[in-house]
Amino acid sequence: MATRQTRTLARTMMAPAVILLFIWMIVPLVMTIWFSFQNYSLINPMMTGFAGWGNYAYVIGDPSFTQALVNTLLLVGGVLLITVIGGTFLALLLDQPIWGQGILRILVISPFFVMPPVAALIWKNGFMHPGYGMLGHLWKAFGLQPVDWFAQYPLFSVIVIVAWQWLPFATLILLTALQSLSEEQREAAEMDGAKAINRFRYIILPHMARAITIVILIQTIFLLGIFAEIRVTTGGGPGYASTNIAFLVFRTGILSNDIGAGSAGGVVAVIIANVVAIFLMRAVGKNLDA
């Protein structure tokens, strides 16, 4: 549909974007891999030279790594569980004939626009603080001892905050998918006398399956990199109780200035993300042709 000239032009026009992204993707990644095989510490200049698999052995061998890996999985899994189930429920609810749908949508979507550090601080100080947080007040109202959430349940607390941020995203996408299920299709099902539960099971759920897949995959990408929420609330602690892989790399590389070990952790994070990415690309790629 285009002439040779147009195509040549097109290639030129695409070049800046492609070149920039290529550099952005390749140069730092190659450097990370390079560093990961080096002895390289910013505070100990004596530490130099090729490290072999030393950094990997150090990072992966450390108990903190196992814990960070488990925490990462718990964090991603927990948030996904809450947001997908909660999101489906909320989407179905908002799709009912109710008063004030427009305002409700706005209320529900709002948490997604709250920047991560603010979300974390509101929860940390306004809600989960044992002294003056709202949950503390609530516990006291029932005569219970207030819980020091971040000390006692650090990872769970982070999960709650992140789930609060992402629940709107899941809801909004599932609601959009639900609303694209045409009124006629539903009427037809209603005419057939399908009971509400069957309608959900056989018509609505299959229609939403694709949207749910997309929600899961996209959220996973973002959730693997959760950082600010941890930085602002627990700082990864107590100990490593709320450190995920992303935060571990930050701790090792930037806070402890161990470039080599931090890079090895970074490479591991890239590998994990790529495994997830392959699935996402497949799902999104299919929709490209449609």
Partner: protein
């Protein structure tokens, strides 16, 4: 309306929906009311709902102590700057992919998407070192550059899906009318795609505004954006509940308003056009 629910059902669902929505909104609501309370009232037990003594002092304090305006200005520079820069790079690229596709176009699009999946921590250390050596650490332009790169794939993808909806006939008509490429893009394509470009702009300003990995790791005082500014409140000694709320409110209010306007585009942008 096709579904004629009985009034009772509607009342029931309405109450339930409002209860859940308010519960989800309560942290934001709490921030709003607390921002106008005195510090003493903010930590009073039992808590008050509406401020008993309404005060604007917190906002003045926040500015006085930590220079809210400077950080907000940095946020605006970085989010708007990176989005505009991204658009300038992305519009020609999206034009190419939408109107002169080749066999490889789809692969390039997928590859661009894949750069988005690179975890930031995987490249944090080299970027940190490069920035340190190039003296880009804690600079607004350094941060703008990074923000442009991380959002470029989304900008290209969104523009691509919007451009695909424009009939190629009209661009061909422009070519027949004597338009060179520049005129075709500036006088025909861009004006026709204004709604799509505006949505793209909006969503990316929001994403850049809320970005909290690179802003925290690459800035300290000078080029700090609002995300970095708020994070500095995490240390206990800086903690004053009412002031924290005031600062938080200031940081999220502009984007909350923008966000409400761009719900639909958000879906399309964040799912790479897979859900519309």
């Amino acid at each position: 309306m096709a579904r004629t629910a009985s009034v009772q059902t509607k009342i029931g669902f309405t109450i339930l929906a409002w209860a859940v929505a308010l519960l989800l909104f309560s942290p934001i609501l709490w921030t709003i009311v607390t921002a106008f309370k005195t510090e003493a009232e903010a930590i009073a037990a039992p808590p008050t709902f509406l401020p008993q003594t309404f005060t604007l002092e917190n906002f003045a304090d926040v500015q006085g102590r930590s220079d809210y305006i400077k950080h907000a200005w940095n946020s605006i520079l970085v989010s708007v700057g990176s989005t505009l820069l991204g658009l300038v790079i992305a519009i020609p690229a999206a034009w190419s992919m939408a109107f002169a596709p080749t066999k490889r176009t789809k692969d390039i699009l997928m590859w661009m998407l894949s750069t988005k999946m690179m975890p930031a921590v995987g490249v944090l250390i080299p970027i940190y070192l490069i920035f340190r050596d190039l003296r880009l650490l804690d600079t607004v332009h350094g941060l703008t550059l990074i923000m442009t790169l991380i959002n470029l794939p989304i900008i290209i993808w969104m523009l691509y899906t919007y451009f695909k909806e424009i009939p190629v006939d009209i661009l061909e008509a422009a070519r027949m009318d004597g338009a060179e490429l520049y005129d075709e893009i500036v006088h025909v394509l861009v004006p026709m795609a204004v709604p799509g470009i505006a949505s793209t702009l909006l969503l990316n300003v929001i994403l850049a505004w809320n970005e909290a990995f690179w802003t925290i790791t690459l800035t300290s005082g000078r080029a700090g954006t609002l995300t970095a500014f708020i994070s500095s409140f995490s240390s206990p000694q800086g903690l004053f509940l009412a002031k924290l709320s005031a600062a938080s409110l200031l940081a999220i209010a502009p984007i909350l308003l923008l966000g409400w306007f761009s719900q639909k585009q958000l879906v399309r942008g964040l799912t790479f056009g897979a859900v519309k």
